[in-house]
């Protein structure tokens, strides 16, 4: 499959000096930002047609998502799973794969962490915590890694397969938390046994935001290093540009595909681990809240650049954090956020057609006289 959204340009020293390099780099910043604004503009027209005020919408979003220390806490707590979910899309995207089923790895990673925590309830946290992390990452990695394996060894379309597997994952979770893993005391909301206090993840000191955020940011930085600074990332970018050429060059394309999808899945599993240990305290249906799907949009907005995922995830987390207040104040349905995401997503994909069309971004334009 050809994927035009993944940049395979290599960072060769520009012959046109600093300005030329700056011009080329700024294209990847300015075009997505412009597309984001166009998406907001279309959404504003949509609100105006409904007789609602876009100004009020964005003002409320700012206030409830970014206005106060409390709203920042809310936003940043929601950012953590989105970072992992977006990485689960961005890493395979480097190989030209569109994997959209990260939700499945989040859900099953969370269930694995919850089950392991219940199993090791009486052992020391020094043993139990690494086991929980490992089980969440292994389950998530196997889940999405098998999507990559099916793609490479059987030629199964990864987009459809990953989404089907997300539906299967949710069915498996429902089966497990209502059946074999159910805590008999959880009456209204079937869950695994509540985690012991020493197995739960607390807040970053002085932040009132759980540690998932710090690890999510760390993983984004590490993923950026992997893609931009290692031979593995280099090989993946080559394969993403032209799979057949990479094979002819003798690159281990199969191992790259399985490795990158499995790594993405393992990170999504980690999102499930943090949701269970830091937010819910047990694995239950609250795991399937759509973080995996928002992650798709974040990865595309960030143009699959792991560092850019961080600010984009914070922005979209802010929209999600403020949706409750907006529903109440403006009498809008909760699907409003989904409509906004749809408009922004389409706008960002349409902007792909504009790359290379503007002379301002061409290094030649800035050739020093």
């Amino acid at each position: 499959m050809t994927d035009q959204t993944v940049s395979t340009q290599l960072d060769t020293p520009s012959p046109n000096g600093f300005l030329g390099m700056l011009a080329r780099r700024s294209e990847a910043v300015i075009l997505p930002l412009a597309a984001l604004l166009v998406g907001f503009a279309v959404f504003s027209i949509f609100l105006l047609l409904q007789g609602k005020s876009p100004t009020e919408f964005f003002a409320l979003t700012y206030r409830a998502g970014f206005g106060t220390a409390f709203s920042w806490q809310n936003t940043l707590s929601r950012t953590a799973p989105l970072l992992f979910a977006a990485l689960c899309v961005a890493l395979p995207a480097r190989l030209g794969l569109v994997v959209i089923g990260g939700e499945g790895a989040i859900v099953l990673g969370g269930v694995a962490a919850g089950a392991m925590g219940a199993l090791l309830a009486h052992s020391s946290g020094l043993i139990a915590v690494p086991m929980m992390v490992a089980s969440a990452m292994i389950v998530g990695g196997l889940w999405i890694g098998s999507v990559g394996a099916l793609r490479y060894y059987r030629g199964v379309n990864e987009t459809i397969a990953s989404l089907l597997m997300a539906y299967i994952a949710i069915a498996v979770m429902n089966h497990l938390v209502e059946g074999p893993l159910r805590d008999p005391a959880s009456l209204n909301k079937p869950s695994t046994a509540p985690l012991a206090d020493n197995l739960r993840v607390g807040d970053i000191p002085g932040w009132e935001v759980h540690w998932g955020l710090a690890f999510g940011v760390l993983c984004c930085v590490l993923a950026w290093g992997l893609i931009d600074k290692t031979t593995w990332g280099f090989a993946a970018r080559i394969a993403g540009g032209n799979m057949r050429a990479a094979q002819v060059q003798g690159l281990p394309v199969g191992r790259l595909i399985v490795g990158f999808t499995a790594l993405g899945g393992a990170l999504a599993g980690l999102a499930g681990y943090f949701e269970v240990t830091a937010v819910h305290g047990a694995a239950n249906a609250s795991l399937a809240t759509g973080y995996g799907y928002t992650g798709i949009l974040i990865a595309f907005l960030a143009r699959h650049n792991p560092l850019a995922i961080i600010p984009v995830a914070i922005l979209l987390a802010g929209f999600e954090a403020s949706s409750g207040l907006i529903q109440r104040r403006m009498d809008l349905p909760n699907a409003t956020t989904l409509v906004l995401q749809g408009f922004v997503f389409i706008s960002i994909l349409m902007s792909d057609t504009l790359y290379g069309r503007f002379k301002v971004f061409a290094p030649e334009c800035w050739r020093s006289a």
Partner: protein
Amino acid sequence: MEDLGLWVIPLAILGGAIRVSTPFLFVSLGEVLTERSGRINLGLEGTLVFGAMSAYAIAYLTGSPWLGVLAAAAGGALFGLIHGLICSLPRVNDIAVGIAMMILGMGLAFYFGKPYVQPVAPDLPSIGFGWWSDIPQVEAALRVNVLFLIGAVLAFAMWWMFRATKVGLIIRVVGDSTDAARAMGLRPTLIRTLATAAGGAFAGVGGAYLSLFYPGSWNEGISSGQGLMAVALVIFARWNPVACFGAALLFGGAGALGPTLQSVGVSEGYYLFFAAPYVLTLGVLIATSSPTRAMTGAPGELSITK
């Protein structure tokens, strides 16, 4: 009444297959039309949900279910048209646009559909083919909705269209080679966009069936991946409309497995039976895909098989 014993299960699955298969049938026929023209539309899940909502709303407001079906088809055509136009831009990824259209379709459906969760809209009519039997289960299983019959006729009509008509040939040429189509003086982009719009209309009608007949109500959980499964089913059916009809029946039967077993009192592993259609779809995809050779029957310009 005689006791049917375990015969209830195959009977209910047969009835369920007829009941559940219609949305699969319409969405997959729409996708066949779109993909035969060389474009993939992964967003039909969103179109299906939007069709379900608009059909229900219009049927409730006007009192006529058929106006609802018409509205769903019009809405679906609009979604298809937008998808087709966006994908006509150079260097735009049609798979990703499909995902975006899916999110937008579901978002708009939930947004506008909120006031219609409570009211009751009129149902589409169905015809009883089980009049010869005294057994109520047989009669229930053979109550066939008119849309199912229309879909069955459409499948054969479309098969004939691709085989024997000029329109069918034009769509196939455009789907197999953009260059050949241009050489013949055709306009590939226009034809693809029209085929995508028509495919969207089909998917919208599939959605109308969901909200106006079975399950016959509108809520946010009305479709859980049927639109996506129908897209996968097209690969299984090798882009052949008549094979789509058979595959839709098979998938409908798998979808009826969960509710059927629940109705005869099997509660163990209840959720896993609900996963049966997804597992079946995945299994079928794995069995029918191949990493090395191009798939037989696949349109040459399709990005998914390149």
